[in-house]
Symmetry: C2
């Protein structure tokens, strides 16, 4: 984040006619200032910044459509930009172009309480939405940690801690407004809870990472705020026992809402960062949603399973304050880990494997961690088989970067060999591009055909998701 | 079903070189007999039969790939055929070609109990799968009524009575093996519970109705068999009260597993067909899955809501025998309705609206029913906002067919105006083609672009889903 943007990109001028047309359309909502461009040329990853040639701040779908038409006629790339919280380089302007900042499109357009759905502009963040919903009895569960925009979350198929119960953006986006590469605006999906009418364009744009169209509005499924919520923590002498507890919990059909594993190093980081005094051993952090009776029943079932696997210090609480404190600590785990060596950046891995292979996968990964020259924290959404490493690197240290890359490579190849995926929730961006062929083989040619059919000029976020 | 196949189609010969090549590949698993072709030229809809020029019975993905290559080189359409239980004309060979019968690819390839998933060949039926899973502690919930093949269910994005709790095929297909139009074989998705790696091809092929590729294998998500199951029925003096009970149940977050409405005429038909003695008034039939305690809690909550809306005779039972009898009657509702006028065919509508509009939508539909000249039964998956009409028509009676079409048109346009969809679960086929533009507008051009990119020769199931 502290690296300078590459000069080649900083110095590349936009066609003057395009800039004039953008200014005529948007006035001072077009910026070519170094600071604004620098802010839009970086994300939360360890990838070096790549700044756009200009930034536009849009206020409506119509403006997006007009900008896309202008950029298409000048063959200038368009990169959608939300909160900038990607960890895979999604927003980096590696081929220059315009960063299209959607954060001013931040209106909650329509809450349909009776139908448990909401339509928002793409720049609304998940926290903003849940604040808006506070008194409605409903909430939006998907929670990737960062306060991302809902457009960005849709574009990257985000998930996070609640996915084990509520699914990912895939399951919770009902429809989208999308600006196509020729500037036309389409509406995908709808507000019916299910539909068999035509190809599933909604799911095609969810996870397309801004490469097939610009998402400007999102219709989301909401869920009733649970009557009762409780959190439980349980300590284990080894990661393996924690993971086996999770696997049995899932197999028993316990409708657990969240189920997170933090390894000993992560706990150490979290203790420091969030001023907690948790025992520095592997920990499961669980959350249960339901009626008071069912929440109690779920917690007791998990406690029984945990104790069969040597779980210690099982504590559960329905007090909101304590829950909030624990979950905030979990959310801050990524930042906490980065503070283990101040000034370092984190290379985050994101594999997800079938849960039956999770214990084995984590055990082998722990051997990689033991051999590494830098601190590596492990935590994640183990109920889904998804876990992260945060590999701490000095951003300018080539040896560090090469070692981190080699570890990531080993972790991903192991996950693929186990029937898993290179990325459970972070997306491909530029970080996981190299693994797409290994994971999907000839299916990548179909993805490429779709990209070429929908965006023949490679206007949208070029260089991301698939190589053309 | 009793109509003769159209002579033009019956008489159209295949290129001799293609037929020879198919026979060289498959031996006696190629048929051009009238009876075999007639069987593959009809479905459960009221659409007139359209028979294929030949039928091939495949045993492997490799055979499908070889057949697709042969048919591509002769520009002869390929139509995937499973159980033939479509109600929208999906399998009708309206442009001739080869019916590719997948029912002999009926092997359950791999059950992963620990991961709650299974991979099956496309010709495995849902009942066969659940029989296979019987002792595993797991089950596959999606249940469209008919004993459809899982390949066909994936291709039509089927759902049914359990969708309110477990989702549709969209949420429960994890991956597919697909033969593309050039004969290449791809594997989409994977066995990880979530992935953000590339475009969501799985969801694109789910619901593509055989027009983008031939699905030969399906990896499905399984669910733990619930510890306890109970069923409840409740009678209402009007449909409106029943619907309001359902809406409140959903909004309360009760994790109801099934929630079906049957109107008075449907009950009458079901009583006759299944030899029951239910009171002939609107009825809700619900099912609850969970622990014994949570099942009881759910049933009590629904009972309380129902009684606020004038619900009568609320009965609930955990006895399997009684449950099975009731649900079998529900499953047979379509057949039961057709027996109201023996020899008639049913024109089935399939709209799905946001639940807040469901009561209004059904009330207006009941006015249509009151004006109609033929019996029309109404039932459906009201927890999803999805309901069916079965409009009884004499197959050869043009007046009947025109009236049914006019009613369907009104019902669909009403649903669309309410933010709903023309088809919740039956698919487009040829029956709902006319409504796709009305529902999806310019998004249909994107569907068309995808069809043309993936199947440029219009080889797969031509004339279905979208007009080219």
């Amino acid at each position: 984040m502290n690296q300078p943007a590459s000069p080649s990109s900083l110095n590349k001028p936009l066609p003057a006619t395009l800039l004039e047309a953008l200014r005529a359309l948007l006035g001072d909502r077009v910026s070519t200032s170094d600071s604004v461009r620098a802010h839009h040329g970086k994300d939360e990853s360890a990838h070096p910044p790549a700044v756009p040639d200009a930034v536009v701040f849009v206020q409506s779908t119509e403006e997006v459509a007009a900008i896309v038409k202008l950029c298409a006629s000048h063959s200038v790339p368009v990169i959608a930009f939300g909160a900038g919280s990607s960890v895979e380089g999604h927003v980096l302007a590696i081929h220059g172009g315009i960063a299209l900042d959607l954060t001013r499109m931040n209106e909650v357009l329509k809450v349909n309480v009776d139908d448990l759905d909401v339509t928002v502009q793409a720049g609304v963040t998940r926290k903003q939405l849940n604040q808006h919903l506070h008194d409605s009895g409903l909430f939006f569960p998907i929670d990737p940690g960062a306060n991302a925009t809902l457009g960005g979350m849709a574009a990257t198929r985000a998930s996070g801690t609640n996915a084990v119960r509520y699914g990912t953006m895939r399951e919770n986006v009902m429809g989208l407004t999308v600006v196509l590469a020729d500037g036309r605006v389409i509406r995908t999906g709808g507000r019916a809870r299910k539909s068999a009418a035509g190809y599933d364009l909604t799911r095609l744009f969810v996870g397309s990472e801004g490469t097939l169209g610009i998402i400007t509005e999102v219709t989301l499924r909401l869920h009733p705020q649970p009557e009762a919520v409780s959190a439980a923590i349980c300590m284990f002498s080894g990661v393996d026992d924690a993971v086996r507890t999770v696997i049995e919990t899932i197999q028993m059909g316990v409708p657990i809402a969240r189920c997170e594993l933090l390894d000993a190093l992560t706990i150490k980081a979290v203790n420091r960062y969030s001023k907690l005094t948790l025992r520095e051993v592997p920990m499961l952090l669980c959350e249960f949603h339901g009626t008071p009776a069912s929440v109690e029943e779920q917690a007791k079932t998990v406690q029984a399973i945990a104790s069969e696997h040597g779980g210690l210090d099982f504590e559960w609480s329905t007090r909101q304050e304590e829950r909030t404190r624990l979950w905030q600590a979990r959310h801050d785990a990524y930042l906490a880990c980065m503070q283990l060596r101040p000034g370092n950046r984190g290379v985050a891995t994101d594999v997800c494997v079938p849960v039956s292979r999770l214990a084995e996968c984590i055990a082998a990964t722990n051997e990689d961690i033991a051999k590494a020259s830098m601190p590596i924290a492990l935590f994640g959404h183990v109920g889904d088989g998804n876990f992260h490493l945060v590999i701490l690197v000095e951003p300018a240290n080539e040896t560090d970067l090469a070692e981190a890359e080699a570890i990531n490579h080993r972790v991903v190849m192991r996950a693929l060999a186990m029937g898993g995926t290179s990325t459970g929730e972070h997306g491909i961006g530029i970080g996981t591009l190299d693994f797409l062929d290994a994971e999907h083989g000839d299916a990548v040619t179909v993805m490429r055909a779709i990209k070429q059919a929908l965006d023949p000029g490679n206007l949208f976020n070029p260089g991301k998701v698939i190589r053309l």
